[in-house]
């Protein structure tokens, strides 16, 4: 157990280090041009890194079972934030979407918190309702309603990427927990169809989809960014152009430091760098699964799997998009992309995984015990 924790921590540290280095390499030209200070974005990211590190330590030292008490208030708070961000004047509108709450110079992305809040609650609820998990109402309808509400709020921003990611993670959690496929599959199908319809009805998103389907044709328009990202990967070759030597970051690839940062990693560090990056994320995934497997407590298992899937899936979607494999979705690359909320929440998530390592064994392994515990001291919902 301890060894897994050490490896997990090392992988995370490496990812964060690569992230800081690559962020500097990628953003300095942009930052000098835009803010007159090449280190402008780096400094901000470092502040968030410090906050995230503190959050990570705090999460690791807090026994995760205490989250059971806090998960419902957390869920409500996040829901309130998600509603607030939609209110004109409160939510900051950037590029046609209200995703940010601006507060004292720093910006907060409620959907980042929503991801963790929903996973924490689902882990809590699904483990609590283990016995009735195959029932329609308790096992399916209730968790599905809460999840649906969250996804709906995020979709309203609109943030299709986060919606899709969170939807997949929630679906996987329900699936693993044992919710009946007869309920799950039709819902998933309906969800995907509704998603599809929404995309086709939105002219901008429909065009993005067309650009995804025929990148050559749209490479000067909607497909420009992805096309330039592909050029960056291709330019990198096996060995890369060398750290700091990206050409595409010279404004050919717009906003290279945010969602497309992987392309610059690929250009500067080559296939070797990208494979190393994937290996680090895979390490994280494997560590998460081992932690889940070794945890006797069901809540801890679900939480560990949910967090692991969240990080891994987000990475997969991000690089899938940047390599023009998936349609364009605005998702940051965990630990690497510029973005405070994302970095902080990912570090907190790693902290929670460490907490599961530390405190998992303390928990009662017996699900009957848990059942009784629930009977004796009713928990909210």
């Amino acid at each position: 157990m301890q060894k897994t924790a050490v490896i997990l921590l090392l992988a995370t540290l490496l990812l964060v280090t690569i992230g800081v280095v690559m962020l500097f390499s990628t953003s300095s030209l942009y930052a000098r041009e835009r803010y007159g200070d090449p280190n402008y974005l780096l400094k901000r990211q470092l502040v968030w890194l410090a906050i995230g590190a503190a959050g990570c330590v705090a999460a690791a030292s807090t026994p995760y079972p205490q989250l059971r008490k806090w998960c419902v208030p957390l869920l409500v708070l996040t829901a309130v934030l998600l509603v607030l961000v939609l209110v004109p004047g409160v939510g900051r509108r950037i590029g046609g979407a209200r995703r940010w709450l601006s507060w004292g110079g720093f910006q907060l992305q409620p959907s980042e918190f929503a991801k963790l809040a929903l996973i924490i609650w689902l882990a809590h609820y699904l483990s609590k309702e283990k016995r009735r998990i195959e029932k329609f109402g308790r096992g399916f309808l209730l968790p599905m309603t809460v999840t649906g509400a969250f996804l709906g709020l995020i979709l309203l921003e609109p943030d299709f990427g986060t919606t899709a990611l969170l939807g997949m993670v929630a679906f996987a959690m329900l699936f693993i927990a044992g919710v009946r496929l007869a309920y799950l599959l039709p819902t998933a199908l309906a969800g995907v169809s509704a998603f599809g319809v929404l995309i086709w009805q939105d002219p901008i998103r429909a065009e993005r989809m067309l650009a995804y389907l025929d990148l050559e044709k749209y490479k000067a328009g909607k497909g420009y960014q992805v096309w330039q990202a592909m050029l960056a990967f291709g330019s990198g070759g096996v060995n890369g152009l060398g750290l700091g030597n990206s050409r595409q970051k010279m404004f050919w690839l717009p906003e290279a430091h945010t969602d497309c940062i992987a392309a610059i990693v690929g250009e500067e560090l080559g296939l070797i760098g990208m494979v190393a990056l994937l290996a680090l994320f895979l390490t994280l995934l494997v560590c998460g699964v081992i932690i889940a497997m070794k945890t006797p407590d069901l809540n801890g298992q679900y939480l560990a799997l949910g967090i692991t899937m969240l990080i891994a899936l987000q990475m997969l979607i991000n690089i899938g998009v940047v390599t023009a494999w998936l349609p364009t979705k605005g998702l940051p690359l965990p630990f690497i992309s510029y973005g405070g909320s994302s970095l902080m929440m990912n570090l907190v998530a790693v902290g929670m995984l460490l907490s599961i390592v530390r405190h998992g064994a303390d928990q009662p392994a017996n699900e009957t015990q848990e059942f009784f515990a629930q009977q004796q001291e009713p928990l909210p919902i």
């Binding site: 030209l29 330039q228 050029l231 990967f233 291709g234 330019s235 070759g237 096996v238 404004f251 050919w252």
Partner: protein
């Protein structure tokens, strides 16, 4: 521990995720390795830009270094539409007043396809600086040179002009293209998306080499004299066209070559082809009596005749071959010398009959007729000399008086130069030297003798006779040059239109001075002078005199005899 369905389902999810990892790895291999060439090439093409750099075209100068053709540095304003398209409207609005172009038209071009578009050429440096100060994204400059001819139409037929691509079209500009043009260079730069060069990535490039300068044998002052006198003659006699060539008999150097009508090479496009033609080398005509020097010199050289031999000139009407040959004035017996300076057609015909067809043809070829002189200007023609087997019975009596044969003015002058120069036929020389940017001579063609048609002794005899042409009993008393012994020959050739001789004439005079050791030779030819007189002696003769008098004064050639009073006064002024 995870157990049962729970475990199976978790395994399914995790396996799926792992598969996604593998697939993503495959995708990365595809992009990084398999499509490396294609994608990195595309990226490089986006960044890269080849900027052409033109070498400066060489100058053309006269023998004293006066500038005849110059290249002025200007700019071409270019744009990269892949960059300017984003803000074409604003850029067009800013450029429009500076380039003096329609904003809407500019916007269309800034919005166009591709990565390179020329917005405006020949933009002066000052305007270019103003545009540079605007710091417009995607707008850049290329060097360009503007060909200017500071002397305007002076010697324009020799200097020639260039086309829109700066390529020589006519004259020296075309003939010396390979020297003048220089070698274009280029620069390969990489740019960021805003069109700024990434200095650190400047790669290959070749510096342009400037063209060589061409120095002509021509003298701007002598050219000016020729032009001025020709212009005056044009006003006085109103010919259809006219030309004057001045050369140095000993070397064959061309000192001046003037044509009317003329054109301004700064505006060559507006001139007609007729005005742009260098008649001195491109036009053939029957030379008329000036051609008599060929057969008489030949006969003297062969000792077939002596200067003192007498031929009867049939009182102006000589029946030969069933046709009557006329003289302008009826003469009885004339010596050879008289035949030449009085220009008797009948006398010349009788001398030719005495020497025979093969010798006559031999001397025509020896004096360089029927082939190009090799002056090295484009457009030179060889003239028309029929081989003896094509001659009719009359030919031998007509060719000596310059009929049935067509020559260029430059051929005529070079033949006269041979007589002036001890029988040495020189190749006309117009390029004094070609120098590189540092002034080192790259090419310096020496004077070149191409033949020796007659002996020095025969030329001395010819000169004796030709010196009498500008005398009171010669055909051209008005060609007499005050203070100098000039030798020359008049020509009055009937023009042929539609195969018939018409009452239109080429009036010409070709001569040299000071004889017997001449410094300069001059050919004057006026095409169809109107207003009564058309004889070479009275039309071209005075022009010869005026040109000669001014040139000897300019060159400081000492008079052989004291000047008459009027010349002394003029000279003193």
């Amino acid at each position: 521990m995870i157990t049962g369905t729970h475990k199976t389902r978790a395994l399914i999810v995790m396996t799926t995720l792992s598969l996604c990892f593998t697939a993503l790895g495959g995708r990365l291999v595809q992009l990084h390795v398999l499509r490396h060439e294609e994608l990195s090439g595309q990226a490089a093409a986006n960044r890269g830009l080849v900027i052409k750099r033109q070498g400066r075209r060489g100058e053309v100068r006269d023998c004293n270094g006066n500038l005849l053709a110059n290249s002025q540095s200007v700019r071409i304003v270019c744009a990269d539409p892949s960059i300017t398209a984003a803000h074409a409207g604003a850029t067009a609005a800013k450029l429009s007043p500076l380039l003096n172009m329609d904003a809407a038209a500019l916007q269309t071009r800034l919005n166009g396809p591709g990565k390179y578009v020329r917005l405006k050429q020949k933009v002066d440096e000052e305007t270019a600086q103003q545009i540079r100060a605007l710091k417009l994204k995607g707008v850049f400059f290329e060097d360009q040179y503007l060909r200017t001819y500071p002397q305007g139409s002076l010697a324009s037929h020799v200097v020639g002009f260039v086309d829109a691509d700066h390529k020589g079209v006519q004259g020296i500009e075309a003939a010396m293209e390979q020297y003048l043009a220089g070698v274009a260079g280029y620069e390969v730069i990489e740019r960021d998306r805003k069109g700024r060069e990434i200095r650190a990535l400047r790669a290959e490039g070749i510096e342009p080499r400037d063209g060589y300068h061409v120095v002509l044998t021509m003298d701007q002052v002598i050219q000016h004299i020729a032009e001025t006198e020709l212009e005056k003659a044009m006003g006085e006699f109103r010919p259809r066209a006219g030309l004057i060539i001045v050369s140095r008999p000993k070397t064959g150097e061309i000192l001046a070559m003037s044509n009317r009508p003329t054109f301004d090479p700064n505006n060559a496009g507006r001139a007609t082809a007729d005005a742009r033609r260098n008649r001195c080398i491109s036009d053939v005509a029957e030379p008329g009596s000036t051609f008599k020097i060929v057969n008489i010199a030949g006969a003297l050289n062969d000792s077939t005749i002596r200067l003192s031999d007498v031929f009867h000139c049939e009182n102006g009407a000589f029946l030969y071959g069933g046709r009557i040959l006329h003289d302008a004035h009826p003469y009885g017996p004339l010596t050879v010398e008289q035949i030449l300076f009085k220009s008797s057609n009948i006398g010349a015909a009788k001398i030719a009959l005495k020497m025979g067809t093969p010798r006559l043809y031999e001397y025509i070829r020896r004096f360089g007729f029927g082939r190009k002189t090799g002056i090295g200007l484009p457009g030179e023609v060889s003239g028309i000399v029929h081989a003896p087997n094509h001659w009719t019975k009359l030919s031998i009596t007509r060719i000596p008086m310059g009929h049935e044969i067509a020559v260029t003015p430059i051929q005529m002058l070079m033949a006269m130069n041979a007589i002036a120069n001890g029988g040495k036929l020189m190749k006309p020389l117009i390029i004094k030297r070609v120098v590189d940017a540092d002034g080192r001579a790259v090419v310096e063609p020496p004077p070149q003798q191409v033949g020796q048609p007659i002996s020095p002794a025969a030329t001395a005899l010819m000169t004796t006779a030709l010196r009498r042409v500008p005398m009171p009993d010669g055909t051209a008393p008005k060609a007499a040059v005050d203070g100098f012994d000039a030798a020359g020959k008049t020509g009055t050739a009937q023009k042929i239109e539609n195969g018939q001789y018409v009452r239109k004439y080429y009036s010409s005079f070709v001569g040299y001075l000071p004889s017997p050791d001449p410094e300069i030779s001059i050919l004057v030819s006026l095409d169809d002078p109107s207003g009564g007189t058309y004889y070479g002696g009275s039309v071209a003769g005075p022009v010869f005199r005026r040109v000669a008098e001014k040139i000897v004064e300019y060159l400081g050639i000492s008079p052989q005899q004291p000047l008459t009073h009027s010349r002394q006064v003029a000279s003193a002024r």
